[in-house]
């Protein structure tokens, strides 16, 4: 005569039994994954020696807080131009003719060097200018500058 019942006597496992069971499970898992675990220990060791582990630990603990702080901070208006510029700078780098720029930079450096050698009190009159046009180096600079001006205007 089996009457309907709903009461359940739960299996009670003592703390010690549970620990024993869990350890057994972990030991099996360790045995099954020996190689990975040994490598893992090496990785942990390396991270620890480099101090990375401490930082990672600290960051993980404060993950949500840290993200919140960063986001709150860089959301402020004062960063807006910076943020907007960041990708612009990236694109700028992509667009620039770096090879040409390097050449121009070299020339610019030469010019600065030459400029620095010139005494502060040296003067140039109109005649000197006309004469200077004949100097091939000056003529080359002026031609380049004129070409640059033309290009920039396009």
């Amino acid at each position: 005569m089996a009457k309907p019942i709903t009461g359940i006597k739960r299996q009670t496992v003592s703390y010690e039994e549970q620990v024993e069971k869990d350890i057994h499970e972990v030991r099996e898992a360790v045995a099954d994954n020996k190689e990975a675990i040994l490598k893992g220990i090496q990785l942990l060791k390396a991270l620890n020696e480099g101090g990375t582990l401490d930082s990672a630990y600290a960051f993980t603990n404060a993950k949500h807080e840290a993200l919140k702080n960063v986001v709150n901070e860089i959301s402020k208006d004062q960063y807006t131009p910076l943020l907007e510029n960041l990708p612009e700078v990236v694109f700028l780098l992509g667009d620039l003719n770096v090879k040409g720029l390097r050449e121009v930079t070299n020339r610019l450096n030469n010019g600065i060097e030459e400029m620095e050698r010139t005494p502060d009190d040296k003067k140039t009159n109109v005649l000197d200018l006309a004469k200077a046009l004949k100097d091939p180096e000056i003529n080359r600079s002026l031609t380049l500058l004129l070409q640059f001006l033309r290009g920039m205007g396009k």
Binding site: A2, P4, I5, G7, I8, K9, Q11, V71, S75, E84
Partner: protein
């Protein structure tokens, strides 16, 4: 001849062969000339709202998705002005949709806006994003709507109006800021929305999204709202160019793949057999995603399949075997439980004989598990006392089909139902019991001129939609069916050619129809003579007739005969073996079909081969190395009777709450109390399990591999999405452990091996194996050894010796009626949102909050007569027992008919009322024949249907999204005419 079949189209100067009538956009995409397209979806067809697929066709700018391939078309997709028009359309979308992909839960590699923009190479947002003035709608339990991310593509409206055909969603194009609205602009939760979830499935972005995904899918999306908003702001600030944004978000999307598991599974609810990917993160179910290639359902789902999975992680799951000791259960280890089962079964077998044990398989478990249960019964115990719950529902239909056409299953596919010129549903509340299949009929009727005739007591959704709706008196369908058939014959409208070629028993059958005159039928059924004539004419003339029927036919004392009458009518009119025709008994549970197919029947081995057939038995005896019993066993019903008579002492039930779902449960539970051994295997401590001596905790479908067979005879694989919950085991593993303890080691390591064994033994499944069923592939039995299956049966005749079907003569006598004392007729059936006794669906909080309990539907007339109002409480008393419940007053029932959903296991359970009446041929309980008297306990009270139940909503039917109204807006200009050449 090639020119006739194919059409030459010139695209960007190259000539291609295309199928005439093919969608032009699909064709362009098929030849790898990529053009952007967002609102277009193959499963939905052209909606023409997004304007992104603009091309130049014969010199004119137009939307590719709106055109069909014609001969000589000249198409340009890349000219500068075409490109410019496409870009304009994309820019307009980005005005409505903010790209913050990395912190968006929809960034899973399949966001169609993201992918389209990336593929088009759009680098900059040309115009600023403009949020709407609307708030997000978070009112629903299952999905939410964000107007600020919605691009108004209208896919959700299309799917709601024309695929699901629930007709809740529209876009109001007339207001200043158009948006998607529910009914007449009410919150999601207050609307007629049935939560089929298809809008969230087809949404190309995160506008309409499953709640389960929110804050779960992404690595960075689980933040408090304020912070998330700031993060969105940040992503926006750095989005000067989309390239880097896409690079970062694509990386994050692929990182998600290692965390979110997507597993193909098959729905565990009704017999339609929807398949989909279930997305899980650890044990959490994030969402269910159906696919266009899901063979039975495509992109469709209902609320149960899309959102009803909470039961899998329910805290009420059993996680330890339980043994009855004294007046309580005690948790024990598996070893002890299995040893107990084996020892007690052996004792009973030795003391009283093998036939003192009975086995009941689960129609919710897999084919492989059904196979193993009958193997355990037959091979190891040595009895044919094995059955399954299809005895409660569809065995009469199977019987009717075996008598006439030889295969006990749907004669075609759901596609054939959708294709039929005339669909008749008889005793089927299709929209609630088989929602996805019903949607196919609703769509065909709404868009393609299919005729729908509904025969039912109750004015349910399909009845309201029907072209013709008849309410024949309960249990008299056989009569009008036979009278209509007779009238067709009298008029000479039968399919003479078909009958001559394919059908036997004509003369005898025609004679048997003598009594079924129109007058007699009209008298008994209440359908007027003229109407009957009209039905006959339309059935005879229709281009393909498909008849769907369910419990309203089978759960009567003449359930098998009525099913036979349906088949007779189809034979007379030649409606077998052609596309768009046939008989469709709609199977109730996910695996009602498969559970019987794979041998859990007292008279059949797998594949419907008789246990009494010596040759067949020999085959199994050789394979199983055992002597098998040669006599038919007991079915469910006989088992219960046998317990009362002291002829059955032990019973093993898997996944079936017999004590709730069998008829006359007072009688059934009294039997349980008499058992010497009662083993119940289930997810929960069900009402039935409360009587058990041993309860074994099983794993549900998501936690195992296997196959299910749907109503179309379609065998589909399910893959393990989750590990079995700790302490539980899949049924096949449990069965194998018991067999081993009883001395036979089956040695299966995977369900595929069980299928292999079964396919090798049962000719019906000869070619079935797991490789042929991989992923979304499926097979519809019979499957030949080379893997050829039969989506449409009877193309080469019927499975009888001379390949001819048989007309089966019938008689009728009315055996049931209400009387003076028991003056009300109780009808019962399913609710859309609950399944069966509710053990699974009531675990879903979202479903519970909208439909917390069953209710009793009574008519206005009856309510007035008995002085009861909405929310009142009544007691229904039948000869077998009584049930009480809360009343709702509705026009779905009329006069003295009452409806009680079967989805309740409390005091409203309908089976307190049912008695021992059965179908005379199959012993299926006549659940639908209950006469009761009603006592009013409380005059009125709180309505049992909450204000947020979809039944209170007000749908707004229309066809598609009405894009013409968008085009008419003053602020709209076609991007193709906006760009200068």
């Amino acid at each position: 001849m090639l020119e006739r079949d194919h059409t030459v189209v010139t695209i960007n100067g190259n000539e291609y062969l295309a199928e005439p009538g093919q969608n032009l956009l699909e064709f362009i995409q098929s030849i790898d000339e990529s053009i952007p397209a967002i609102c277009y979806n193959e499963s939905l067809g052209p909606i023409e709202t997004c304007d992104t697929c603009i091309i130049q066709l014969n010199g004119e700018m137009t939307r590719a998705c709106g055109k069909k391939v014609e001969a000589g078309m000249r198409v340009q997709t890349k000219l500068p002005h075409v490109h410019k028009a496409q870009k304009e359309a994309l820019d307009r979308i980005l005005e409505k949709h903010e790209l913050y992909c990395t912190v968006c839960d929809y960034n899973n590699g399949s966001c169609e806006i993201h992918n389209t923009m990336a593929e088009f190479g759009l680098e900059h947002q040309s115009r600023p994003f403009q949020p709407t003035s609307y708030n997000r709608d978070d009112s629903g339990s299952f999905y939410r709507y964000d107007p600020d991310q919605c691009i108004l593509c209208g896919r959700c409206v299309e799917v709601c109006q024309d695929v699901q055909v629930n007709e809740t969603l529209t876009i109001d194009w007339e207001r200043q800021e158009p948006r998607v609205i529910w009914d007449n602009d009410v919150p999601i939760d207050q609307s007629s929305c049935v939560n089929c979830g298809q809008c969230s499935t087809v949404c190309p972005c995160n506008a309409m999204m499953e709640v389960g995904m929110e804050g779960e899918a992404g690595f960075l999306t689980d933040q408090e709202p304020g912070l998330l908003k700031k993060m969105i702001g940040l992503t926006k600030k750095v989005e000067t160019g989309y390239g880097p944004l896409f690079a970062v978000s694509d990386t994050e999307a692929s990182m998600r793949e290692s965390r979110i598991k997507k597993t193909k599974t098959v729905c565990t609810y009704c017999g339609v057999g929807c398949s989909f990917d279930v997305w899980t993160k650890d044990r959490k179910v994030l969402k269910v995603e159906p696919h266009a290639e899901s063979p039975a359902n495509g992109i469709s789902t209902c609320v149960k399949g899309k959102f009803g999975w909470d039961y899998v992680n329910s805290e009420e799951r059993l996680t330890k075997p339980l043994i009855r000791r004294g007046d309580q259960f005690e948790e024990v280890e598996w070893d002890e439980a299995i040893a107990f089962a084996a020892k007690r079964m052996t004792e009973i077998k030795e003391e009283k004989g093998a036939d003192h044990l009975g086995f009941i398989s689960s129609s919710k478990a897999t084919n492989e598990e059904s196979y193993l249960m009958q193997k355990l019964a037959r091979q190891i115990i040595g009895t044919n006392n094995i059955d399954n719950c299809s005895r409660y529902c569809q065995t009469p239909a199977t019987k009717g089909l075996f008598r006439t056409v030889g295969h006990g299953g749907d004669s075609g596919s759901i596609d054939d139902i959708a294709k039929a010129g005339l669909v008749m549903t008889i005793g089927s509340n299709t929209a609630e019991s088989h929602p996805v299949l019903a949607s196919r009929i609703k769509r065909s009727q709404k868009l393609f001129g299919q005729q729908l005739y509904v025969f039912d007591l109750r004015k349910h959704e399909m009845a309201k939609r029907a072209d013709r709706f008849y309410q024949p008196k309960s249990g008299t369908d056989l009569v009008w069916l036979s009278a209509v058939t007779k009238y067709i014959l009298d008029q000479g409208w039968q399919d003479k050619k078909f009958l001559k070629e394919w059908v036997n028993g004509y003369d005898e059958y025609v004679q048997s129809l003598e009594p079924f005159t129109l007058e007699y039928a009209s008298d008994l059924t209440g359908i007027p003579v003229d109407e009957l004539k009209d039905i006959a004419k339309n059935v005879a003339e229709a281009k393909g007739v498909a008849v769907c029927w369910a419990m309203g036919v089978t759960q009567h004392m003449r359930g098998s005969d009525t099913s036979t009458a349906i088949s007779n009518l189809l034979l007379i009119t030649g409606n077998y073996g052609k596309p768009g025709t046939g008989a469709y008994p709609l199977r109730g549970h996910n695996n009602v079909q498969g559970c019987s197919d794979f041998g859990s029947m007292p008279n059949f081995f797998p594949g419907y081969e008789k246990v009494t057939d010596d040759e067949v038995r020999k085959r199994y005896e050789d394979a199983w190395q055992a002597t098998l019993p040669a006599e038919e066993g007991m079915d469910n019903h006989q088992m219960i009777e046998a317990i009362h008579n002291g002829e059955l002492s032990g019973m093993y039930v898997i996944g079936e709450d017999t004590g709730i779902v069998d008829a006359n449960i007072n009688y059934v539970t009294a039997a349980f109390e008499k058992l010497d051994l009662f083993i119940v295997q289930d997810l929960f401590l069900t009402k039935t399990a409360e009587y058990a001596d041993l309860v074994l905790p099983a794993s549900p479908s998501l936690e195992k591999d296997g196959t299910f067979t749907n109503t179309e005879r379609r065998i589909q694989r399910l893959y393990k999405a989750l590990e079995p919950m700790k302490g539980t085991k899949p049924d096949w593993e449990i069965l194998q452990l018991i067999a081993k303890d009883l001395g036979t080691d089956w040695g299966y390591t995977h369900p595929s091996e069980i299928m292999e064994e079964s396919a090798g033994l049962a000719p019906l499944f000869a070619g079935v194996n797991y490789e042929r069923l991989e992923g979304y592939k499926s097979l519809q039995w019979p499957v030949a050894a080379d893997g050829t299956d039969e989506p449409l049966l009877f193309l080469d005749g019927f499975p009888f010796e001379d390949k001819k079907a048989k007309l089966f003569p019938l008689e009728f006598e009315l055996m049931y009626d209400t009387n003076e004392e028991y003056d009300l007729h109780v009808n019962n059936g399913r609710l859309l949102e609950h399944f069966h006794e509710g053990n699974m669906t009531y675990k879903s909080e979202g479903i519970r909050r909208k439909t917390p309990n069953a209710f009793i539907e009574i008519s206005k007339e009856l309510a007035e007569e008995r002085g009861v109002e909405e929310g009142g409480e009544v007691k229904l008393i039948s000869e077998a027992g009584e049930a009480t419940g809360v009343v709702t007053i509705t026009d779905r029932v009329r006069g003295k008919e009452i409806f009680l959903p079967l989805n309740d296991n409390g005091k409203s359970a309908v089976n307190f009322l049912t008695d021992n009446r059965v179908d005379k041929d199959t012993n299926t309980p006549a659940y639908k024949e209950i006469a009761v008297k009603m006592k009013v306990m409380k005059k009125k009270g709180k309505s049992p249907i909450p204000p947020n139940n979809h039944r209170r909503g007000n749908p707004v039917p229309q066809i598609s999204v009405k894009v013409q109204e968008k085009w008419k807006r003053e602020d709209y200009q076609f991007p193709g005419s906006q760009v200068r050449r």
